[in-house]
């Protein structure tokens, strides 16, 4: 059995409380393996690795970490991070600042995420479980990554990346296409390579035989559902 330590911000206070504990029972941690649950720390916590080192200086033997934020440097030194604990309220992994995302009720099998405010430049919303619906716009320099499809009722000016976990059936819909980049299941297209006549239009994008297709949503041309890009030699790339 390993002990689990779950530090809470502010860290100096937490450390002081720990020290008080150790002062009362000096041999408490002797030789015991300790697992660090870092899930309660905000992603902005500076230098988590240094914090872990100060714990080791107190004789605490850390065998692993859990719930470490991917942006933290040096935490890997304490072994392969265990997957984040599946506590309610932390359904999405969100680097940097994000709009307050309503968290799905615990226990419910939620596979969609609705964001009812604009996603600002520099924000990144990651939702691997399913579809993301954005009522506002995705700003230039912002990004949405979804396991399923992405629906945007405003303008996509930043990046929309759908079908994260190998879902080639995912699609991207928006009321106004001005994206810097769109991608589905690793097939991406930058603004330069998009059909110019679709820029600024209501558009959907999907994959067909590993090629990205785009068509105007309000297109009255019902004869051919193959999309505007059909037959065109659109430059696109693939990344994983």
């Amino acid at each position: 059995m390993a002990l689990v330590l779950a530090p809470e911000p502010p860290l100096p206070n937490w450390l002081a409380a720990l020290d008080a504990q150790v002062a009362r029972a000096p041999t408490f941690f002797d030789g015991r393996p300790v697992l660090m649950d870092l899930g309660a720390l905000p992603s902005s916590t500076p230098d988590v690795a240094a914090f872990l080192r100060t714990l080791e200086q107190r004789g605490i033997r850390i065998i692993g970490t859990e719930g470490a934020h991917p942006s933290w440097q040096g935490v890997e030194a304490w072994g392969r991070p265990f997957p984040a604990s599946s506590k309610p309220g932390r359904p999405i992994e969100v680097p940097d600042e994000t709009p307050k995302v309503p968290s799905p009720a615990p226990g419910s099998d939620v596979n969609s995420l609705v964001i009812d405010e604009p996603i600002r430049s520099g924000q990144s919303v990651v939702f691997e479980k399913g579809d993301v619906t954005v009522l506002g716009s995705i700003g230039s320099g912002a990004e949405v990554l979804a396991g399923g499809s992405i629906h945007v009722y405003g303008t996509i000016r930043g990046r929309a990346i759908a079908g994260l976990a190998g879902n080639s059936k995912a699609r991207i819909f928006c009321r106004k296409m001005q994206a810097e980049l769109v991608a589905i299941d690793g097939v991406y297209q930058t603004a330069d390579d998009m059909p110019a006549d679709l820029i600024g239009k209501a558009v959907q994008a999907w994959l067909e035989d590993d090629r990205m297709k785009m068509t105007a949503l309000d297109s009255t041309d019902t004869g051919d559902a193959n999309g505007q890009s059909f037959g065109r030699n659109i430059r696109q790339g693939r990344r994983r």
Binding site: S44, E97, T98, P99, K100, E117, P118, I119, R120, S121, G122, Q123, G136, S137, G139, S140, G141, A142, T155, R157
Partner: protein, 271 residues
């Protein structure tokens, strides 16, 4: 109830300091007790724009670190006695600001003044974060061009996530101040127009300040434009913005290019 306002933008050179001085002076000219606080530690400018650079003894850092009392560092404006300045230090850098110290100074200022206006440094680093942290209201200064708009978008995201209000789950009030707006260039499509900027940033518009030589001249003589040329278009736009900040409901008028009209009016007056 004192209001703490941060003037911020992300991008540099868009008019944060000029707008801080003009809005602060306009609010004070209307009778409110105002302090403008320079958070640009190491690159202080607000003292110059306010014309107080030769009266700086103590500064924000001295107060934050407890080396001086707040009353010793505050500089009262010579023209409007309800307007004060808390200057930044030019010889230190932003690391000298501590969150606890800043919180203490802001609390003290809240007791003394109706408005505490914080002039944020450019960027998204520590100085800018501390300047916005205690704000109740933010004025996001933006020029009608794409890089400024994108930086403002980023700052708005940070206002919604990194401020004390956001951390408590409250919303910070945000206003857009569009500065250096050139009606002629906007009409010719050389600049983003007002609707484009509002659509992208989707926060309420506080005012549109036309590009004007008066603003430049005012800065150079060390006077907020609302004092230096109070009847000019830029000053009038700042006065309106200040009244909107104070809660008045005044319609925003988009500046138009009306050379013909102006010269006609002028010609008639001369005659």
């Amino acid at each position: 109830m004192a209001k703490v306002l941060v003037v911020t933008s992300g991008k540099g050179g868009v008019g944060k300091t000029t707008s801080t001085a003009a809005l602060g002076a306009a609010l004070a000219q209307n009778g409110a007790n105002v302090v403008v606080v320079d958070f640009d530690v190491g690159l202080r400018n607000l003292d110059l724009v306010m014309g107080a650079e030769r009266r700086v003894v103590y500064d924000l850092i001295n107060v934050v670190q407890g080396d001086a009392k707040l009353a010793q560092a505050l500089i009262r404006d010579k023209r409007i006695d309800t307007l004060s300045l808390l200057p930044a230090s030019q010889t230190r850098d932003k690391d000298a600001l501590t969150p606890e110290g800043v919180a203490r100074v802001i609390d003290q200022l809240r007791e003394k003044f109706d408005w505490v206006i914080c002039d944020s440094p450019a960027g998204i680093e520590k100085g800018a974060m501390l300047a916005m942290h205690h704000a109740d209201t933010a004025v996001v200064v933006t020029n009608p061009e794409v890089s400024s708009v994108r930086d403002s978008d980023r700052i708005i995201g940070m206002l919604d996530s990194k401020t004390a209000k956001a951390e408590k789950g409250e919303r910070i009030e945000k206003h857009l101040l569009l500065t250096r707006y050139d009606p002629g260039r906007a009409a010719r499509g050389e600049m983003l127009n007002v609707e484009d900027v509002l659509e992208i940033l989707s926060i309420p518009l506080l005012g549109i300040i036309p590009e004007s030589e008066e603003v430049l001249r005012a800065s150079n003589v060390g006077s907020p434009v609302t004092l230096a040329s109070p009847t000019g278009a830029a000053a009038r736009a700042y006065f309106d913005a200040a009244r909107r900040l104070a809660g008045e409901n005044i319609e925003v008028v988009v500046p138009m290019e009306r050379k013909g009209f102006m010269s006609r009016l002028f010609g008639r007056r001369v005659a």
